[in-house]
Amino acid sequence: MKCPSCGLEIPDDSEICPYCTANVKKRVRIKSIYVLALILIIVSPTYAILAYTSSDVQITPIKDLTIDDNYNFIHVRGTVIKYPTVYDSNYGVTQLGFVISDGTGEISVKIYRDQIERVVKEHKIPGIGDVVDVEGTFSYGSRKSVIVNNVEFLHVIKGSFEHISVKMLNDAPPWAFKDGTLVSIEGNITGVREYSFGMISTIDDSVDLVIPYAYTALDVVNIKTLGSGVAEICGSLKLYRSKQPTSGYLTVNLEDLIENPERYNGTNVHILWARIISKNEISRVIKVSENNTNITVYSKSGVNYYNVGDNVEIQGKFVRYNGTWEIKVTKKNDFIAEPKWEIIMHPQFSIIHKKDYREGENMSLYSLVKLRGIVADYRVMNSGYLVTLWNDNRTYSVYVESQKNVHGHIDYGKSVVVMGMITKYKSGEEIKVRDFTEDYLEVVF
């Protein structure tokens, strides 16, 4: 016979092969190992069926997420309450995050590295007020967060935008809208300032538009495009108060105050909304009106800053002074502030009417102009220049928002070319060289 292991000829009654020492009698058949492989043939389809049938993860209320869920795969849904922020380094944007709330709690959604590219490509960057449905890995730390490792699990449901005009917003009292109302507005970008959190642009010289840094860093909002014409901009409203009302002041109606002056004598009052109808910088008083009821307001720190027509909020003491009733703003918590509705931008806008830089002819408001002239005077401002240009026997005032928009060395008598926008300044007009746009001032020779 032949040895079953080495195949050499061996005596018929051998138990052990003399050549390879293999046991001839007690052996394991290879076919029985094939049978063993059958177990895997069962295992593989079982997992495949499990994968095929495994249902979606249920939505969890944010407040129910605890440390036990750490690193678990979760599904949450909520409204964006804080605009997206990014963390960027020399290697580009490495983290994108925003905060959502479902009414029971808040959770921050975080997206890292290459997934950020996909978010941008698939237009899945949300703005405040959008509803976000997200599945990802939960991370429990000082604050709850969910890490989106696969953009497919991120769904952004955009809200609908209510169209309003610049004028409407300027005149809107604090109670006219709710914070977070989604609006779209039409206007020209008349100025751009940079801050750590992003940019604040002004629309038609009056409404502030906050552009979160995330949008410009990820290039979903391009200021150059945005500033090139009349734009329709989407965003959510937020009431900006430079001073927050404090306790200890009685919120009153101006009419009520004037009708019952004795009752309110000496009380600290809070006027929500009134329009300035006149001002006297020397005696430091302004006159404000609400529903045709007027009152004088005295401010210890002066009233230079306020303009007739502005709407203000006032905290002060209601007193009689020289026989007339007035509000005195003198103490620490007293203030005259201008609450303003500002817009926090969504990553959506469209240019309705694109404008080109034109030379000389049309100098109407918010048109883009190209102007040649000679520097008659220039002053260095905080970050830019105020330049007086001499051209064609008249002077133009040019405001350059940032020194980096000046190409060349500016000096008296130099010939320059200005690309800019006609904007309002106080009562007059000026040419503004807006930062981050295509505007610039070039010194020719």
């Binding site: 394991v28 190992i33 295992v43 389809p45 079982t46 997992y47 095929y52 495994s54």
Partner: protein
């Protein structure tokens, strides 16, 4: 999940298994090098617009098939030469005794059981593994340190007791031990240098270990094959194998646990894990050793990926898990099911590929001139290293080859070469920095 997606997944697993099986037949070529190639391609093409999960499944198919098919070159293309070896490796002994196919079947059986261990037992002990991982994490530095200490202390003298006086005996006995320590020291030094300062192009930096590893393990054994005289005898293709079920069970349990240990603890590789578990399980005999060799390799390579996708653990261990993590983060249970289904599927297919490829090779290998084969493989490796890491990589490889020849020529354990990974990672975890002493920063 839709059915067409599931079918796509299966298709990509099959594709990966096919590619992996073909490439793993080349001796000395490690699947991680091939995967590195694929990843580079995948990234430069910007993801090819395909679902990353499909790419993951393809890579897993490649890995599983490698863990099975590596058996073929390791059995058929290694030199069973009496004159250069102190003791023959079991696989070489089998080849010499015309039982190459039997050795392949034993290893493949171990690997098959290893795949079962991964797909059936690892999910069962999911929570236990999570707890153990949390406990062990803070203690990792001394655990790895203990592994190193054990490896060094367990190198035994290989002499035959024929010494004239104590000094002569010490010299004879310590020759192999010192060669082992020298290998460990040199490989560790190479590792520290490689980890702290890489000379190869930055774009290929994730392949920085490629040149040292190919040099330490592949080229050194090819050179040994070239200088040794050997002939591969005609091979028999048996219908049954000479083993008891007890050997297979013992070997596969020991191998699976050793592989799991290696997959779990950073810097510990299949060789070290298998070595330790063969000690822990008081293993005896070639059959059990061959089975455990198959099981530990599979559990180490594939188990690392299974642990990566395991819910509650998501352990990032092994080059493939790190490579996948560059573009994909596992999180859902569904992905875990898909991965395990893929592993099991690739496992069965690779098992039969190994068996049939071995049958084919057993018939043809005696006709091939082993020297020619080795020279061809050497050429392939040199070209590959040049492409991936430029000529600097070739320099590193030649240094590594010299170090890899020390244990081969002095009969100490080759697993000492793994110090190239163990030492730098252990130093890093223990907060010891040697690199500044070498003036590397």
């Amino acid at each position: 999940m839709i059915l067409s997606y599931l079918l796509m997944c299966i298709l990509f697993v099959l594709l990966g298994t096919a590619i992996g099986s073909l490439l793993s037949m080349l001796p000395g070529l490690h699947v991680y090098n091939v995967i590195g190639f694929f990843l580079l391609f995948y990234f430069t093409m910007g993801g090819l617009g395909m679902d990353p999960m499909l790419m993951v499944l393809m890579l897993i198919g490649m890995l599983v098939s490698y863990a099975f098919v590596f058996t073929i070159p390791s059995i058929y293309f290694s030199a069973p030469d009496d004159s250069t070896m102190f003791v023959l490796m079991p696989s070489q002994r089998y080849l010499k005794e015309r039982k190459g196919h039997e050795a392949v079947v034993l290893i493949a059986t171990g690997a098959l059981i290893g795949v079962m261990a991964i797909t059936i037992f690892v999910p069962i002990f999911m929570n236990v593994l999570g707890v153990i991982w949390n406990i062990a994490l803070a203690n990792m530095h001394w655990i790895i340190g203990a592994v190193i200490a054990f490896m060094l202390l367990s190198e035994f003298p290989k002499d035959f007791g024929r010494h004239k006086n104590p000094l002569h005996g010490l010299k004879e006995g310590w020759k192999t031990i010192l060669a082992g320590y020298l290998t460990f020291f040199l490989a560790g030094l190479l590792g520290v240098i490689t980890f702290s300062k890489t000379l190869i192009p930055a774009g290929h930096a994730f392949q920085s270990l490629m040149a040292p590893l190919i040099g330490l393990f592949a080229t050194s054994s090819i050179i040994l094959n070239l200088i040794s005289k050997y002939e591969i005898p005609e091979q028999n293709i048996p219908k049954s194998i000479d083993a008891k079920p007890k050997d297979i069970v013992h070997g596969s349990v020991a191998g699976s646990i050793g592989g799991l240990f290696a997959a779990f603890i950073p810097a510990v590789t299949a060789g070290v894990g298998g070595y330790m578990s063969s000690h822990a399980f008081a293993q005896q005999g070639d059959k059990s050793f061959l089975v455990s060799m198959g099981a530990s390799r599979v559990v180490y390579y594939v188990g690392a990926i299974a642990l990566f996708f395991l819910p509650t653990l998501h352990l990032r261990r092994g080059a493939l898990a790190m490579g996948i993590n560059l573009f994909f983060t596992p999180e859902t249970v569904q992905q875990f099911y898909l991965v395990d289904a893929g592993i099991a599927l690739a496992g069965i297919i690779s098992f039969f590929i190994v068996i049939y490829a071995s049958k084919f090779l057993a018939k043809t290998i005696p006709k091939v001139n082993p020297k020619t084969l080795n020279i061809v493989v050497l050429g392939v490796l040199i070209v590959l290293v040049y492409i991936m890491t430029s000529w600097v990589g070739l320099l590193i490889m030649s240094v590594a080859t010299a170090i890899g020849l020390v244990p081969v020529l002095f009969n100490s354990r080759r697993s000492h070469c793994l110090a190239v990974i163990l030492v730098p990672i252990w130093l890093n975890m223990s907060g010891i920095t040697l690199a500044p002493l070498l003036g590397l920063w």
